[in-house]
């Protein structure tokens, strides 16, 4: 076969590929990372490169301006090579990792992100107390098996099994060879007084650990929600079913790409997969260690970890190559991951402790959504309800006890404070309520924990934009109306609205909302709303058919539903139909950590959910552009807002 040699500038990296290979593939082979978020489908238009020399065959695309075409720009994924050629990768198309990312570029990408582990608010849980039989991932049993005699001479292992099975129905039980080797001596040294830790490994019960004496009061687990942007962990007392502490940090994988697709591309090379895997494991270990130390525990007291995350996050967590997730027909390596030993992936808890992952639905709807649905109780409703997760992927689930359909809308990280100039997570000091007094041009704020503000969380951002709109300071396209307020000024990032003067903020700087922040929010809310519209249409329902809407997400301890409707994030339904359930992924994961029954239910939910791929729904793009307006291009969809703004 004919070969062609391609040189990629500015690095002068060379690669030889068969003629007819597309430039994106060739670039990956050359170790050049080009931005691309549609997986080489020619849709996203981000993989622009310039043909300096050589002949190419390129498909026509609407993603390049006439000016760019004139300059020799082509889309790498839609262009195949022919003979020797030289390609320049312009800065905007370079996907650069940690080693090449300048400090400045990094700081820009991490605006509002990347703070060390911090306490987070646990969020509302009132609606989330579904009753499941207590049966945690790890159970501790104190045993006093009778010592063997000539009459009762079964082996030590069988003797332990017999003691465990007293009054318990456990069909399949196992113990590893490492434990068996130590068993006889341990039983005798501890005078037949031992504690067995039982782990649920799917249908099998494993005696994970045998310890001398009674340690049943030291049985803890950790529930983790591995989000694209944020990682949240709860320390749970498995015996008392109590949440002892909560911590969160930003997902350090953000360094290697903001969204799952760029991380999948980054992970295509082996050592980079390793890197992504390591940073997330490190982050989880830090969260666990921090909580363990604060509660005077040891890592040995942690016997199980339950994790929920989108499919890509779980692949990376377990160091499973995620490559095929982004390639047609978009399948995962596994949706239902087996329960494994946490140590196998490097999670530092009791060396024998287990790790279970909540099962996912598809490549783009993961276990975090299964857990969220489980926590909300959507799958128990008799009339149709909606579950909306206001996270980076913005998943939406529609259904009831008989059926469930879902989609992923790629909303972006702004609900978690990502990409927002002063955005922070829902933690102490985050502005959560904003009120604007139009006649006095004054702003009243309320922060989580009531202290001085240090940033704004998702709920505060929604509030702020709604208030700006209501007070006539923002037009419907999301542009600030400069003459409407003295607080609107031109800052270093363009037009901005002054929320807090530096002397009143915790950070000694003015806290502002920029037009770019507002634009990001509009894009996110538009994706959620239009995704929901398409999903409803797909099953022949309308918003009016919905009896209940669960709104999930780590955007605050509360969300003002009316303001969310005002900006067009949530459909215009009576407020009583909405329930804000906070971080439902972690709530559901905690349920699974505490109850085998809940885990079985999660498996059922994942098994029966149908995934709708929005990228194949022709209407989605049209609905999406229509929704990029406040509240929407078609104001008649928001009668209550129409009344308010005239």
């Amino acid at each position: 076969m004919e070969k062609c040699k391609i040189i990629f500038y500015p690095w002068k990296k060379e690669v030889t590929v068969p003629s007819g290979t597309d430039l994106l593939t060739a670039a990956i082979r050359a170790g050049v990372n080009i931005y691309n978020s549609c997986g080489g489908e020619g849709v996203c238009g981000r993989c622009k490169v310039i043909v300096r020399k050589g002949e190419v065959i390129t498909e026509p695309t609407g993603r390049l301006s006439a000016k760019e075409k004139k300059k020799g720009y082509v889309l790498a994924c839609r262009t195949t090579c022919k003979g020797r050629m030289e390609i320049e990768v312009p800065p905007e198309s370079r996907l650069e990792g940690l080693e090449i990312l300048t400090e400045e570029a990094k700081a820009k990408r991490l605006v509002g992100l990347y703070t060390p582990a911090e306490e987070v608010e646990k969020g509302p849980e009132v609606a989330l107390e579904r009753v499941f039989t207590h049966g945690p991932l790890s159970t501790k049993l104190y045993l006093e098996p009778s010592p063997p005699t000539l009459e009762d001479n079964v082996g030590d292992l069988e003797r332990v099994y017999r003691e465990i099975r007293k009054g318990r129905e456990i069909p399949i039980m196992q113990m590893g060879l490492a434990n068996i080797k130590k068993l006889s001596k341990l039983l005798r040294d501890s005078s037949w007084k031992v504690t067995a830790t039982l782990g649920n490994r799917n249908e099998t019960t494993e005696v994970v650990l045998i310890e001398p004496g009674d340690t049943t009061n030291k049985n803890y687990g950790v529930a983790v929600d591995v989000g694209t942007t944020t990682i949240v962990a709860y320390l749970v007392n498995l015996r008392e079913r109590q949440v002892l502490g909560a911590k969160a940090c930003y997902n350090p994988q953000v360094d290697f790409g903001e969204d799952v697709i760029s991380r999948i591309i980054f992970a295509q090379e082996k050592d980079r997969l390793e890197k992504l895997h390591h940073v997330v494991i490190d982050a989880i270990n830090n969260l666990i260690l921090g909580m363990v130390m604060e509660h005077n525990l040891t890592l040995n007291d942690i016997n199980g970890v339950a994790c929920a995350g989108n499919t890509t996050m779980i692949h990376l967590l377990l160091r499973v190559p995620p490559e095929y997730l982004r390639k047609e027909p978009y399948v995962s390596t596994a949706g239902f991951m087996p329960v494994i030993r946490a140590a196998e992936v490097g999670i530092k808890i009791n060396p024998r402790g287990l790790l279970c992952c909540i099962p996912g639905v598809s490549s783009y709807v993961g276990g975090d959504i299964t857990a969220g649905v489980l926590a909300s109780g959507l799958d128990d409703l008799s009339t149709p309800g909606l579950f909306i997760d206001l996270g980076t992927n913005g998943e939406v689930v529609l259904g009831n006890k008989d059926w469930l359909v879902c989609c992923s809308t790629s909303a972006g990280p702004c609900f978690e404070g990502g990409g927002i100039k002063w955005g922070i997570r829902a933690m102490k000091g985050a502005i959560q309520r904003v009120e604007i007094n139009p006649s006095k041009d004054k702003v009243n704020l309320c922060t989580i924990g009531k202290g001085k503000p240090k940033g704004i969380c998702g709920a505060g951002l929604v509030d702020c934009v709604a208030e700006l709109m209501k007070s006539g300071r923002l037009n419907r396209a999301g542009k600030l109306i400069s003459e409407s307020s003295k607080r609107i000024r031109e800052g270093e990032d363009g037009w901005e609205f002054l929320l807090v003067e530096s002397k009143k903020s915790l950070v000694d700087q003015d806290i502002v909302i920029t037009e770019t922040d507002i634009k990001n929010l509009i894009h996110s809310k538009g994706a959620i709303y239009s995704g929901t519209e398409v999903l409803l249409k797909r099953v022949g329902l309308s918003f009016q058919d919905l009896e209940q809407v669960f709104v999930a997400g780590g955007l605050g301890t509360a969300l003002d539903v009316e303001k969310a409707i005002m900006i067009g994030l949530l459909p215009d339904l009576p407020p009583e139909k909405f329930t804000f359930i906070g971080n439902s992924a972690i709530a559901g994961t905690r349920m699974c950590l505490l109850s085998h029954e809940a885990m079985r239910k999660a498996e059922k939910i994942a098994g029966k959910m149908t995934y709708v791929d929005l990228s194949t729904e022709p209407e989605f793009m049209n609905n999406y552009t229509a929704s990029l307006f406040l509240p929407h291009t078609d104001i008649n969809l928001f009668p209550s807002v129409k009344k308010l703004i005239g």
Binding site: N475, R476, A477, N622, T625, F629, T633, I635
Partner: protein, 320 residues
């Protein structure tokens, strides 16, 4: 057999361009567009009170990229907007002109707003047909130029533009205070078009004085995209969407005379036929397609093409 006809709930806005002495201007005639209660030329279904119109392009400088075949009919008036305008009206029978202030573009002569205003005044003096005035299509520069020329044409009820999302505020304010209508342009998207209409109307500008430009693609250069967007816009208007009920304009000449099919010489591509008729034909075909899509105003360049399209419009407007 019964004819299957559609009964629409609403109609396209009607708009008048130009002001006679009675209305406070100095024009001898006015142009009426819009008002249709049905899709283009379906006379059996509804009323089409006004015929689509053609505005003939006049530049305030010699167009740098026009091919000889397009320059030829204008001869030596190309550098002189006043003579050019006169020629269009007197020789080619234009009843509506589009004055393009290309010289204000930073990449051409970067002429000042005052110079542009002077040109507008002069053109208004020498011709008495209604006028469309557009800037140089650079959003930033247009925000300086349009207020000045709008004021210079005060009371003449011109059609002024082009307002895009980046500069609509200034242009709307200018049109508002000087009594002109406005052209609102958005990039081939029905939602973006509506959004811009809403933004302009939200500044208390009367929606009936807005004309939409959904962007124009020449034949072979994306015409079908614009076509379908225009068709959908027209359907939205007829179904009663007040923010989509504006008449539409297409800049046909501007796009066609950039296409290589209109410009390439006979030596380059002998199989394409004589250049003298190729360009005008390309312009005619593009224009006629947009008429079918619902265009109310066509901005065109070549006199031969304009003649042919006028005849087509005449035929299409016959009720029998």
């Amino acid at each position: 057999m019964e004819k299957a006809t559609e009964k629409w709930a609403s109609k396209v806005n009607q708009l008048i361009i130009g002001a006679t002495q009675k209305e406070g201007g100095t024009r001898n005639s006015v142009i009426k567009v819009g008002g249709a209660t049905t899709l283009p030329f379906l006379h059996f279904e509804g009323v089409i009170p006004n015929s689509p119109v053609i505005a003939m392009e006049v530049w305030d400088m010699e167009p740098p990229d026009w091919p000889a075949v397009l320059k030829e009919p204008f001869g030596d008036v190309l550098g002189d907007p006043v003579e050019w305008a006169k020629k269009c009206v007197n020789e080619y029978g234009a009843d509506f002109l589009c004055l393009r202030l290309a010289s204000t573009h930073p990449d051409t002569k970067n002429n000042s707003p005052e110079e542009a205003a002077t040109t507008v005044k002069k053109v208004l003096e020498v011709v008495s047909v209604p006028l469309m005035i557009i800037g140089c299509n650079q959003a930033e520069k247009d925000t300086e130029v349009i207020p000045a020329v709008s004021e210079a044409a005060r009371g003449e009820n011109c059609l002024v533009g082009i307002a895009v999302e980046a500069n609509y505020k200034t242009i709307t304010a200018a049109c508002q205070s000087d009594g002109h209508s406005i052209i609102a342009e958005s990039p081939i998207d029905i939602n973006l078009a509506k959004q811009l209409n809403i933004l302009i109307s939200d500044m208390s500008f009367p929606p009936e004085k807005i004309i939409m430009h959904p962007a124009t693609g020449a034949l072979g250069y994306g015409l079908e995209y614009t076509y379908s967007i225009m068709e959908r816009s027209r359907l939205a208007a007829l179904q009663g969407d007040k923010m989509m009920s504006m008449p539409m304009v297409n800049f046909v000449g501007q796009e066609v005379w950039r296409a290589k099919e209109a410009k390439a010489s006979e030596q380059e591509v002998p199989e394409w036929g004589p250049i003298a008729s190729r360009g005008p034909l390309w312009e005619v075909t593009t224009a006629v397609s947009y008429l079918q899509a619902g265009a109310d105003i066509l901005v065109m360049c070549h006199p031969k093409a304009i003649d042919s399209v006028k005849k087509v419009i005449e035929e299409l407007m016959k009720k029998e």
